[in-house]
Amino acid sequence: MSFFENLKMAFGSIAANKMRSLLTMLGIIIGISAVITITTLGTTLRATVKGALDSLGSNLFYVYLSEKNADNYYDTVEIEVTPDDLIQLSMLEELVEKYPDEIRLADENSAGSGTLRNSENKDVSINIVGAYNGTLDYNGGKILAGRNLTMRDVTERKYTCIVSDIFVRQYFKKGEDPLGRVIIVNTEGGAALELSIVGVYKYNAMINGMGATSEEEMKTPVYVPNTIAQQLQGIYYDPGLWGTMLSFNIKYDSKTVQDHIQSFFDEKYASNKNYGIKISSAMDQLKMIDTVINVITIVVAVIAAISLLVGGVGVMNIMLVSVTERTREIGIRKALGAKKRAIKRQFVTEAIIICLIGGIIGILIGLLNGELVGLVANMLVKSDPTYEDLLGNISIQPSTGAIMISLIFSMLTGVFFGLYPASKAAKMNPIDALRYD
């Protein structure tokens, strides 16, 4: 008897007892749908978080001074740090020069607030922030017009700045071109700072916050070369750093960039007995999320395994009932020449089909759950433009791996729990079976 005929027979007898078959599948449906729901949410969460990190700084490294024999950042510093140990700006400049397209300096330095008077005689408040060529990356901003600050702006102490799109709306009249314009900032210290605008960036409210309820009152950063900011703060020498942010061009592989940075500093600190440089990345956060998702997945898998087990026992129970009910049928089939193997296969196939249908229904319910959660999540995201900026449209991503594994496991459940009833049927004595009523 062919495989296809076996299938037809199995579907026939399942269809003959639709309600009972459905109830039998319930355990399997619940188990599988739980797994698919959770794994779908897990993979979606991961993809969304990764997308968000990518958009706001998966291309960031924190480079920090670390005791050479210490294991991590949080280890107590036992050996006193001397100024010679600190990271010098000149080192960073050298690093950036060595990999000009690849690595940018992303540190920032708050140098207080300032005000400007616009043409309507209204004061616009800003924050003066000392920046490098990668500081904008760190803040999740994007250049809309003009250019970003460069390392030359910093080293040559150029009185340049980049301003936010919000600032442009606050300060300039509609249609005015801010690029190349010179603005005069009145600092807290009473000094007036003349800066020429070289670029306009898109302010990232998700990272930097809204600050005020209305856009008119918002205070956004004006990024100036950090040397200018330090001048404002009365710092005329390089104080050295305990740690600094670096960003990199995302077209490079994060691992390669990290290796470049590490070996650069390893060389610099080769002669330093006590201190070296360590690097941590935003991707480390993603790894943490992965760990959490994995733990949740394992917990759900265990729950699913239990419900598959319970479901499987249910299937076995029903199959035993079915075998008893169909004793006479088994006797007839045997009298007509069905071999033990054929009878066994008939009932195992039936159990597998029941479990597979249960599994498929479970998968569909799981996918539906995922879509529903996606719908709600997207509704929430769309209700707040700052979230929408960051997360965009959340697309639900079912885990194909989980779907495959679910199908395989529901099938295995059918085999495992169908085998005993099926061999019970196969072993029946045809005469006794025929006499049964």
Binding site: M1, E5, G12, S13, A16, R328, E329, G331, I332, R333, K334, A335, L336, G337, A338, K339, K340, R341, A342, P430, I431, L434
Partner: protein
């Protein structure tokens, strides 16, 4: 070289004994050493009181059961030495059962029921349905081929069951009280089909019946009492009984 006009021995039983509850205090001997030879093409009736062991003997002939003692050659093959799998094959290919209670599978229609033995013989779909349709025509049930058993009358069910018994062109048709559940008129119709199978198709038919009239229509009547053959009208074929073949 076979001698023409001489039928071969299809069933050769000698000293068949069947016991139940062997080794227990209530040990029961149902068949007490039955010896029986049936030739190809015979129409035999087995009669006897209820509980005399007719069905037990029939199951033995049909390879549903193995004798406790004695030897049984079916088409020259010693059935008592066969494995479970080989017995299934014999039942599938050599035997066609017809039961008192029809024993059709209620979930499937007449055609599928007739196809079933062919399914277990591994025959293809087209061949199965073609043959099944022909057999339904033989028993004049072709217009009910898509009906399920519960949509058929008793006589119709039995005709479908006979068609099913013929599916793999077996050497023997075994019918255990095939008219037992039918009224006289319907029973008559079923009996006519057996005659047809015997005469037209040349089948060996063995029939258990409680009706002396039906038994008298056959060529040979074997009477069983308490597990023994008490009378046998004998082989009526005109071929010589001895020297089966000359090689």
């Amino acid at each position: 070289m076979t001698v023409s006009n001489m039928a071969k021995r299809i069933i050769e039983m000698s000293n068949i004994i069947k016991r139940y509850y062997i080794g227990q205090p209530n040990e029961l001997q149902i068949l007490n050493g039955i010896s029986l030879t049936v030739h190809e093409g015979e129409f035999v009736a087995i009669v006897g009181a209820s509980g005399s062991g007719k069905s037990t003997l029939m199951n033995m002939i049909g390879a549903l059961d193995k004798p406790t003692e004695g030897s049984y050659l079916l088409n020259g093959v010693d059935v008592s030495k066969l494995s479970d799998k080989q017995l299934s094959e014999i039942r599938n290919k050599e035997i066609g059962f017809v039961f008192q209670t029809f024993n059709l599978i209620s979930r499937t229609n007449a055609l599928k029921n007739v196809e079933m033995p062919m399914l277990y013989a591994g025959k293809g779909r087209k061949e199965r349905s073609k043959r099944a349709m022909e057999l339904l025509e033989l028993v004049e049930m072709e217009d009910r081929s898509t009906h399920k058993p519960n949509e058929l009358s008793g006589g119709q069910k039995q005709r479908v069951a006979i068609a099913r018994a013929m599916a793999n062109d077996p050497s023997i048709i075994l019918a255990d009280e095939p008219t037992g559940a039918l009224d006289t008129k319907t029973g008559r119709m079923v009996m006519d089909i057996f005659h047809k199978l015997h005469k037209q198709e040349g089948k060996t038919v063995i029939l258990i019946t409680h009706s002396p009239e039906l038994a008298s229509e056959t060529e040979r009547i074997i009477t069983i009492s308490d597990g023994s053959i008490v009378s046998d009208t004998g082989y009526t074929g005109n071929a010589p009984d001895k020297e089966v073949s000359a090689e």
